[in-house]
Symmetry: C2
Subunit: 288 residues, 2 copies
């Protein structure tokens, strides 16, 4: 049976550290720090996600601001981002997804002040991550999910160097940035996606398999090499409750280690958001 | 025997088009366009590369400026970049490599005006490439070698979608950006490098194999799947003359198609630099 890569104790430890760091920073600045989220319309998934973030902010003693604007008014939305960019109390800004299709999501993301872009969506931050090296050391914002995957694997002392890591999924928030991080950590990386031919022939070779395509219970045991480490990034709502992208029970019989859903990557992902917001505050002020 | 993916006819066709485009743009602007290269010290390899670029610029009727500055004066170097950034006649700026180690190559690259960064080294351009989608369509500068690889493969009508492409090399000028482009073109991509275990077990699976590690004659026939397309990005100086990263004669017996060195990717790479400089001129001026 596989070891369970439980993200909750790691997330708790991070939360304690973040609370201490935030207390110290807010004392020095003399004002509270705020994480602001901005969305267009009331999407159900983002409502639930924002509730989680709000709770987390309370627990580490950081202000949380939710800006829900009409999905019909792009100008107002852009204006709000500019105002939050200029507000010194707002350390980090997050966009709620999805944005209306005809708004140009990438254009909107590139309006964020790169120093407040705690989701790592601005192309300047994506480029620093992608180029690695000096940039990665001196400061970019890594998107929270891939940062959490690396953090969790390192916490459980799973070596990355020289390992063959296969990713299923090439999104801009998980697959692509995770590939860049894994390459920077000396892993051999294969990126698979919806157009990949004979997917299982790739996944069966993985020392470390990361499922991030958002399809409930998609990864079956025959797609996994015995002894592999399996990381499940999926969070899918099904009639039976939350499900990952991996058939946990069946796959955990042959994997050497596996992340549960919920309780694996998710809690660490949220902690990474707080970590990025703290870093953002430090970048923005010499006092923080 | 493999088809030879000759880059020279494609480069010639591009050169004709570029000459016509440049004539038209320079007429409309009322002044010539300049490609400027800046280097610190007289490195032999960059001297030979700059000579190639100077010849190419002459053939398409574009001005070429070479700035060779002392490798001992970082401030002067930075000042020169700023001056070239501000000069409206300079459409594109290229850095000569290597820069002195303690200068912070990544810091220097990030000083380039992203709209003149014809090598695609600025993190903003790297991020747009990496994120793909809208950014890739509306304007980034793709580094010349990976742009040339894609251009050459498409010219010879080699499909990328769903193909397993294996890259050897993860540099910021070839491996990483090429991986991003191939993912955007729906290929399944594996990135191998110096830390990869059992390299041949990966390369033997490639439908398309790209060698970009800079080791003369490194790829032997036993590393190649029969019928694979082999792209050789290496240009190595050996006692016997220029050599690619692939053993051309032996590998061409089993590959279905292969690029020669010289005459494969190289000529197209140089053409991509001119293409980027023309795009840069268009981005900088509504007249161009």
């Amino acid at each position: 049976m596989a070891i369970e890569l439980d993200g909750r104790p790691l997330a708790r430890a991070l939360r304690r550290r973040h609370r201490d760091e935030l207390e110290d920073i807010q004392n020095r600045l003399g004002h509270p720090l705020t994480l602001a989220v901005v969305r267009a319309g009331e999407d159900k998934a983002s409502t639930s996600y924002f509730r989680q973030i709000r709770n987390l902010c309370q627990r580490v003693d950081m202000e949380f601001q939710e800006h829900t604007l009409p999905a019909t008014d792009r100008e107002q939305f852009i204006g709000r981002i500019c105002r939050l960019n200029a507000d010194p109390r707002v350390a980090g800004i997050m966009l709620g997804w999805p944005l209306p299709e005809d708004w140009g999501a990438e254009f909107i993301a590139s309006l964020l002040d790169p120093r407040k872009d705690v989701d790592g969506l601005h192309p300047l931050n994506a480029g620093r991550l992608f180029l690695g090296g000096e940039y990665l050391e001196t400061g970019t914002f890594v998107p929270n999910t891939p940062a959490a995957v690396i953090h969790l694997l390192r916490h459980y002392e799973i070596m990355l160097s020289g390992k063959h890591t296969v990713l299923i999924g090439r999104s801009n928030v998980v697959g692509r940035p995770l590939a860049a991080l894994l390459i920077a950590h000396d892993a051999t990386v294969t990126v698979c996606h919806s157009r990949t031919a004979e997917l299982a022939s790739h996944t069966r070779q993985a020392d470390i398999l990361v499922a991030a395509m958002g399809k409930a219970n998609f990864v079956t045991p025959d797609m996994v090499k015995p002894g592999a480490v399996v990381v499940d990034v999926g969070i899918n709502v099904t009639p039976d409750g939350l499900a990952g992208d991996v058939q946990y029970d069946a796959v955990s019989k042959i994997a050497s280690a596996i992340t549960p859903v919920p309780g694996g990557v998710g809690p660490v992902t949220n902690a990474m958001l707080i970590e990025n917001t703290i870093r953002a505050a430090r970048i923005q002020s010499t006092l923080a």
